[in-house]
Amino acid sequence: MEPKASSASQPFWEATKEQKFLLPWCKDCEKPFWYPRVMCPHCLGESIEWKEASGQGSVYASAVHWKPGMPPAGDLKPPFVVSLIDLEEGVRMLSNVIGCEATDVHEGMSVKITWEKLSDGRFLPQFEPAS
């Protein structure tokens, strides 16, 4: 299932068309946050700026999907892995780690961003082993 952009996340999805990975930052408390919201979840500030992220992170936890539920947006066959990625900037996001065996993905593994094309010109951020 492809993601449906919300009003708060339009800039994020627009940038993915050029494979740019943006994170929302609060101008008031100067912290990044994830997922995109109409305000900052640290201080309720509504002044938000988008900054390009490094795309580097490490795996916090994973679930190897042998028996999936709803089909993913990407071209993945079970077993595929759904992981929480701690990004260098200090936020955590859910994604897939691809480019290796699902069962080889482990906590602390360094990963970097990669892109999966969606049907409408946007790209879905995924991760792959960094080395």
Binding site: A5, K67, V82, L94
Partner: protein
């Protein structure tokens, strides 16, 4: 100036408790018919009538305004308290907390809390479904949600994928093993062998759990709860009125509720649930410690759910749950008996299991449990967990001797 919750200790009680399950997993009848049967049965259990009811608590079974739709159907036209709080599987512990508060403050005197779902029966007849009107309500909202945007595109299986990530993290952080998690399913099944209403009553081994197919690794099929039909109801009233009723009351000694997130990727620490807040709050209000608890009924949607609850409630230190359960302590011969009806893993699980924790806790305190009865049970804990390890609500109950 804030009210000292300890003054509310024991001021309200559960006086009627009933459930309906089937060893085939299927119950006949619509969810509304099941609700009506449960309310009739719970009132009879309490020795009260529908005319006594002035508080109505329901969070499923209607389209959106559950308590209002149910009250109309029952012919209750002027309740003094109405409540449809929905926190998933922990909802019924939350509703007990709300009912106890409402009764203690005098807003209402006799509260009815009810639940019915028939995911199996409805599947057979092609209608209804496990979440009743909730699917319809979600469709009305247009399907736009953070989860639809940021989790579902990655194929996260709901809710199991979230629990699997927690289990994975607990394993990497603390060295917990699949064998230790499997022992939770095995101990729970030991209780189910003594419950003629349980869905599964044959003994289970660790090897059988490990040999069952991986669903979302590291969780195997037998690490996961059942999908069955089920229903239940509770009647609550004031401690004064409880003393004159038919059966011994289960007094509400303490309650606590919290939540940490809604979707699993927003859980701040995958190894710590809101039980670390709701549990200590309930124990403090009740004036008891984990060591005082005779009967422990913890939500067991998955084996990892139990492990985290044991740690967060303080029955064992954070990270030490694996070796603790590996000794079989949760079973009938163990030192920390838990999930005495066979739990969501072996007894029943219609989707929001918290009702059955409370019904079993009341039955244990009344001494109604036959071969699975815990001797001299005076203090019981029902600990619900809803969403994807998102919300917890802890209820401490006690017999009259604990007041």
């Amino acid at each position: 100036m804030s009210y000292d919750l300890r003054e509310a200790r024991g001021k309200a009680a559960i006086v009627g408790a009933i459930d309906a399950v089937s060893s085939t997993g299927v119950l006949e009848g619509s969810t509304r018919a099941l609700e009506v049967a449960m309310i009739r049965g719970a009132l009879e259990d309490a020795g009260l009538t529908i005319g006594d009811v002035d508080g109505i608590f329901a969070c499923t079974g209607g389209m959106m305004m559950h308590s209002m739709e149910l009250a109309e159907y029952l012919g209750i036209t002027q309740p003094c308290w109405t409540d449809t709080t929905q926190t998933g599987g922990s909802s019924f512990e939350v509703l007990v907390e709300h009912a106890a508060a409402a009764i203690t403050l005098g807003h209402c005197e006799v509260a009815v809390i009810v639940y019915a779902m028939n995911p199996r029966g409805a599947r057979k007849s092609g209608g209804g479904g496990g979440m009743g009107g909730m699917g319809a309500a979600m469709a009305m909202m247009g399907g736009e949600s953070p989860q639809m945007e940021w989790e579902m595109p990655y194929g996260l299986r709901m809710p199991m994928g979230g629990y699997a990530m927690s289990a994975d993290r607990h394993m990497s952080q603390y060295g917990t093993t699949s064998e230790q998690l499997a022992q939770i399913a095995v101990s729970t099944r030991e209780w189910a062998t003594m419950n003629p209403n349980a869905r599964y009553q044959d003994p289970l081994t660790i090897q059988e759990v490990l040999d069952s197919p991986l669903q979302c690794g590291p969780l195997h099929k037998l690490d996961c709860c059942l999908v069955t039909d089920g229903a239940g109801a509770l009647v609550m009233t004031s401690a004064e009125r409880a003393r004159d009723l038919k059966k011994p009351a289960a007094y509400v000694l303490g309650t606590g509720t919290s939540h940490t997130h809604s979707m699993p990727s927003a859980m701040p620490d995958l190894t710590v649930t809101a039980g670390a807040v709701s549990g200590p709050k309930a124990f403090r209000m009740a004036g008891v410690t984990p060591n005082d608890v005779d009967v422990l009924e913890m939500y067991d949607s998955f084996t990892i759910t139990v492990l985290l609850a044991l740690e967060d409630l303080g029955f064992v230190k954070k990270g030490e749950g694996g070796p603790f359960v590996a000794e079989g302590v949760l079973g009938p011969k163990g030192s920390r008996p838990a999930q005495t009806n066979g739990g969501g893993l072996s007894y029943t699980h219609p989707g929001m299991y918290g009702m059955f924790l409370l019904v079993e806790a009341v039955r244990q305190l009344r001494g109604e449990c036959g071969p699975r009865q815990i001797e001299n049970a005076e203090i019981a804990v029902a600990h619900g967990c809803g969403g994807v390890l998102s919300s917890t609500s802890t209820v401490v109950l006690g017999t009259e001797s604990t007041l």
